[in-house]
């Protein structure tokens, strides 16, 4: 039997059983579309995180006080109270070749007040470098100057949300605000910008690092951000950072250095695994479609006993009967897959329009994987009905009798 003839034969069959055909097509296309859509969701999340990280700065090393690794044996009876990271440490790190900028950060919560309004706000004490490293731009006024590295200036830069809540639509620049027990002048407001790695820069107050040191009465830094030259070797600078700290902390290596690359790699790993898991879960819908195909094929075999008997009587071999039934399933799956792929990409396109900041990206393997699973289950689940059809006794089948 020629392929074309089989296609014609199956087409006539599909036209005859329209409802059945449409339902099966629907089952297969939903399965294929869900594999593609869900994996693009996972891949989209990965892309989103990648972009967030690059928004953080090109290449960043984060130095945290305290060691995160387990050391030695036995319980730390004397305690391993970590030495504070200090501004002097930060300055020393700035002298490492390849480090473009150092942003020491002191973090705390203070009350900020203007006239009769006040609110709690996360306050970061830092320098002008902070804005470069975090790629923050000024919306109004100006940012901290280089003097903020060394002098406890009574100035501050507000996030847009803080500005809005304290001043409303009134002018904030040049106004005095009360931060803790100090008076500071507002010199700038940050540009409106989304959340970045859980830090909502709209709801922040940035003051000079020396001012923060006095305000919080603590020389300990929350962390130090290092901006690395694109040409520099991140691993090497990481090593040098540890060496500098060790020298300054009497041989103790009591800091943790996290590179942006390693964080990104960790996220990448997690999200890639997640995407695979999602793919596996959505494949279940294809499995269900496969079982549906098997059931309906089995019903079709018993409904078409006479036809099968007849086909055998007029010269169809068992192999041809098998071929007809498997071909029928494969054809359904091809059409269902085509439908599912088109629907999936149409939806991805629509989502891209509705939600441009989080575009769904189908991973390159999504379509082949969906097709593989669809055809695999289709084939596996149509073999049984096809075998049953081929094994029919033509004589009994023609009479419409069971074995």
């Amino acid at each position: 039997m020629r392929l074309f003839d089989q296609l014609v034969f199956n087409r006539q069959l599909f036209m005859r059983h329209r409802v059945r055909t449409v339902l099966l097509l629907l089952a297969v296309s939903i399965g294929v579309a869900s594999v593609i859509l869900l994996t693009s969701l996972g891949e989209g999340a990965r892309g989103y995180v990648d972009r967030e990280f690059s928004a953080l700065g090109n290449r960043i090393l984060i130095v945290l006080p305290g060691r995160k690794e387990t050391t030695g044996g036995g319980p730390p009876i004397y305690g391993a109270s970590p030495r504070d990271l200090t501004l002097e440490d930060a300055n020393a790190l700035g002298r490492i070749p390849g480090v473009l900028a150092v942003a020491p950060i002191i973090a705390g919560t203070t009350t900020i007040a203007h006239s009769n309004r006040s609110r709690e706000v996360i306050t970061l004490g830092s320098t002008d470098a902070f804005f470069t490293v975090r790629q923050l731009n000024v919306g109004m006024g100006r940012l901290l100057s280089a003097r903020a590295r060394t002098e406890p200036l009574a100035v501050c830069v507000l996030g847009v949300k803080v500005k809005r809540e304290l001043f409303g639509s009134r002018r904030a620049l040049g106004q005095w605000v009360r931060v803790g027990d100090r008076r500071m002048r507002v010199i700038g407001v940050l540009e409106e910008r989304g959340e970045s790695l859980g830090l909502d820069m709209r709801d922040m107050l940035v003051i000079p690092v020396r001012t923060a040191e006095q305000l919080f009465d603590s020389p300990g830094l929350f962390r130090i951000l290092l901006d690395i030259a694109p040409s520099a070797d991140s691993d090497k600078i990481q090593e040098q950072t540890l060496r500098v700290i060790r020298k300054r902390h009497d041989g103790e290596e009591d800091v943790t250095v996290i590179s942006q690359d390693s964080m990104l790699a960790a996220f990448d790993n997690i999200l890639a695994t997640l995407t695979m898991a999602i793919a596996a879960i959505s494949s279940i819908s294809l499995l269900v479609a496969g079982i549906l195909i098997m059931n309906i094929s089995l019903i079709s075999v018993s409904q078409r006993r006479k036809e099968i008997g007849l086909l055998k009587a007029i010269g169809a071999s068992s192999r041809q009967i098998k071929q007809l039934f498997i071909g029928e399933s494969l054809l359904l799956i091809s059409m269902g897959s085509a439908l599912g792929i088109s629907v999936a990409f149409a939806l991805i396109f629509v989502f891209a329009g509705l939600w441009p900041s989080f575009p769904l990206q189908p991973p390159t393997w999504a379509v082949p994987a969906a097709l593989l699973v669809a055809f695999g289950t289709g084939l596996v689940f149509s073999i049984m009905p096809a075998k049953r059809a081929a094994a029919l006794d033509p004589v009994l089948a023609l009479r419409g009798l069971q074995h």
Partner: protein, 261 residues
Amino acid sequence: MIKLEAINKTYQVGGSPLRALCDVSLQIEPGEYLSVMGPSGSGKSTLLNMIGLLDRPDSGRYWFDQVATEELNEERRAHLRGENIGFIFQSFHLINRLTAFENVELPMMLAGQPVKQRRSAVTDVMAMVGLSDRASHKPNQLSGGQLQRVAIARAIVMRPRLLLADEPTGNLDSHSGGEVIDVIEKLNQDGITLITVTHDQQLGDRARRHIRMVDGMIDSDHNAHIKGSNIKSSQTKISDIKSVDIDSADTEDKKSDDATI
């Protein structure tokens, strides 16, 4: 052309064995016109299915054109059946979703023949059974006699040398039954070997050779009117057969429920 030797076939019916065929031996020459008669359960249909290669004997040998068929695999048997044997059934067994033309085309399609060749062959046989104008009709638009003629067209479209008819007029009234008989006897006159299984004494008597079966055995086998002149060489091609002129009054409409698939 056909030689059966000590064919045995036993079916399990409700747990107890039923001997459908018991040491049946039979020889059939090309161009013969046989009728097989006998009471229900005498093994007539089993014999027909055996000859038609739809069934395999438990023991015994069957040569079709000197080919020992019991040695063939399913694939080869299907091929042999498709090429050489045409079936006509009591309940027609046409496929409902296909037009008359497509039903007739089916055997050629299964054999993988090219479309062009199929078209001309189908057109020829449709004319032969007098249904050229009904080619695009679906089975539910045709009368019983027309359905059986479509089935005959399908049986002969591959130009088989053997035509097996199982109660070909069983579901038809006498008028359309007569038309069907005319068509298949004309085919026999033009050289095709014809075997009819029937309960109908009148139809059975029309054959030249009468086989009577009882309890899975051939009870009697005799030639009715030994003219022999009609036994021609099996080389005669169906293409030589002229269109059978049939009064297309087609008043019959008796259709059994299982007339079509």
